[in-house]
Symmetry: C2
């Protein structure tokens, strides 16, 4: 189901001549899901029940998609399904598992109630279960990662997840910091979101025999996409509707988490407007009272300084940079075309 | 400081003729602390500040002590400081880091306020920070583990931490289950506490060239000690004083977490006593009201069925079994003597 969901948009985007590579990707994702489920097949029924719940969180499977497509694209136009090795599948399952673990813990942090139209674990079973379930997913990801032939991938993934946590801690440190600047925002996003997507791309190519320079460039490709992806996520939280997005929205403001549009607005607005916006978002008030934030008025304020458009443009620019990096690195191929389509989908998506 | 604290008890227990090996252990623990600190030396000041706080949690350093002593004991009477390799030090830092991560997340689960006489992270900085800091420690442990020469240790540690989380999830599943049986209690304790201590012992010997059979027996040695250690912990939570124990006590009952003495009592007491005890511990009441539990009266009830003594005897029996396993596996040596002393200290300790 999540496979078809991952593919659907792409096939539409690239048309029928890419059916063959789309089929390879679909088959690869099915193997990733199978590996994911097998790794989490606990002998304890209560644990299995929790895992079955979070498996609903799997949606776009962006990270494994990047691993598999980079793996195929590295092989060039003649790539076949056989080019997706067990290592590609394992890496795909590892990066998805780490991602799902961060979702489970993020929902605890955000006190979110819904995720992919399902109740969050914290909402359903309490924070304690959500905390340990997240730990279980992180451990399982590292356990699976250690089954790979070489130590190097585990070392790379360990560094990425460590910086991911540092990014989250930096973000928490700047909670309710209404003078947060763009540089720090990007520092946070690079670590908490972009690095894992960069690793997903790099490792996909690496297991198809990419040279160090190519690995590095595909990592940069993935990191630019990752930042664009996060900006789009932040925009959806600010301007999206829960019904469409499929998860709780408005959480960033409620939690005193400043994102790019607001940072841009507060930096550009005149003193009066700035003061009005700060009152509007309940700056200095306890988080509880922020539940009453008038999101319509906030959006109008942001529009007054073109800050939503600024954030959209920034994301679009990053996608353009990522795509030209890709074109300069890998030969034209159906898989490369799909990667370009994924890149566009990152900023076009409404969920 | 924590080194001297880890050693002090042991030197007293084994006397002066063990000064040489105690000095090797002290030097090894200093290297472990150095590795621990270097691995967590983030480039982000707010992250470093949090790490400095949790470094206070380091107390007995039981797990690295087991790794280093098993590493020395495997070498026999002629062991020297040179027998403690970089790998022993890395494993020691990894198992301690995983342990500290579990402490940070356990404090979130238990809403504990103090730990080793310091404020808990959740109490000081909130649950969000405590959750991500725990994740950061887990990631850092795996990252460090991946720096070892072989994949096998990361694979072993990944399996252990995964089962550790399963044990915690099983425990949460049985929260407020006042008919929890001994078999399930031991299932929980084996996974959440014993396996990591077993791995600490096994790996210490493995990096000193132990044969598979010896590794297995030292793993069993460590696991028996681990179960005894947890029973002692449960007894301290039930009967200890915060001033002596150095962390919040009475948390298990408050959280509806049944431990061995109470399980034994409820299994042995007649219907009237059983009903009285259940009312006493607020069975069926919301956790909040359990803050008023009369711990004196609970202890009297437990004494009436000899349940505290039963738990103490069980822990002592496990320590005896562990010690005879050790004697049958490794040659007599000063390091082996220290391992026997540690085993005794596990059930003798008041903190």
């Amino acid at each position: 189901m999540s496979v078809s969901r991952a593919i659907a948009g792409l096939e539409a985007a690239v048309g029928g001549e890419h059916e063959a590579v789309a089929a390879m990707l679909a088959e690869g994702l099915a193997r990733v899901e199978e590996r994911f489920d097998r790794q989490l097949n606990s002998d304890l029924p209560p644990v299995r029940a929790l895992v079955e719940h979070v498996e609903r969180y799997r949606g776009k499977m962006l990270r494994p998609v990047m691993t598999l497509l980079c793996g195929l694209a590295q092989r060039g136009p003649s790539a076949t399904a056989a080019d997706l090795t067990e290592a590609h599948v394992t890496v795909g399952a590892v990066v998805e598992m780490i991602h799902v673990a961060t979702l489970v813990h993020d929902d605890v942090l955000d006190e979110a109630e819904t995720r992919r139209r399902a109740q969050t674990v914290n909402n359903l079973r309490g924070n304690e279960v959500a905390v340990i379930l997240g730990d279980y997913l992180i451990s399982s990801a590292f356990h699976l990662c250690s089954s790979l032939d070489a130590q190097t991938t585990a070392l790379l993934i360990g560094g990425v997840t460590t910086r991911l946590c540092e990014g989250e801690l930096l973000q928490l440190h700047h909670r309710d910091d209404f003078s947060l600047d763009e540089a720090t925002y990007f520092e946070i996003v690079q670590r908490k979101t972009a690095e894992l997507i960069g690793a997903a791309c790099e490792l996909g190519a690496a297991y198809s025999g990419a040279a160090p320079a190519t690995r590095q460039r595909l990592r940069d490709f993935g990191m630019r996409l990752g930042v664009a992806f996060q900006i789009q996520d932040d925009l959806l939280d600010l301007t999206g509707e829960e019904r469409v997005v499929g998860k709780s929205v408005g959480k960033d403001l409620e939690k005193g988490k400043l994102t790019l549009p607001l940072i841009h607005h507060l930096g550009r607005a005149d003193a009066t407007t700035r003061g009005r916006t700060l009152r509007l978002i309940g700056a200095g008030e306890p988080a509880r009272q922020r539940l009453t934030v008038d999101s319509r008025a906030v959006r109008d304020a942001l529009e007054s300084t073109g800050s939503v458009e600024f954030a959209r443009d920034t994301a679009r620019r990053l996608v353009r940079e990522a795509r030209s990096l890709l074109s300069d690195t890998l030969p034209a191929s159906p898989a490369a075309d799909l990667l370009h389509a994924v890149a566009e989908a990152v900023v076009a998506r409404a969920y």
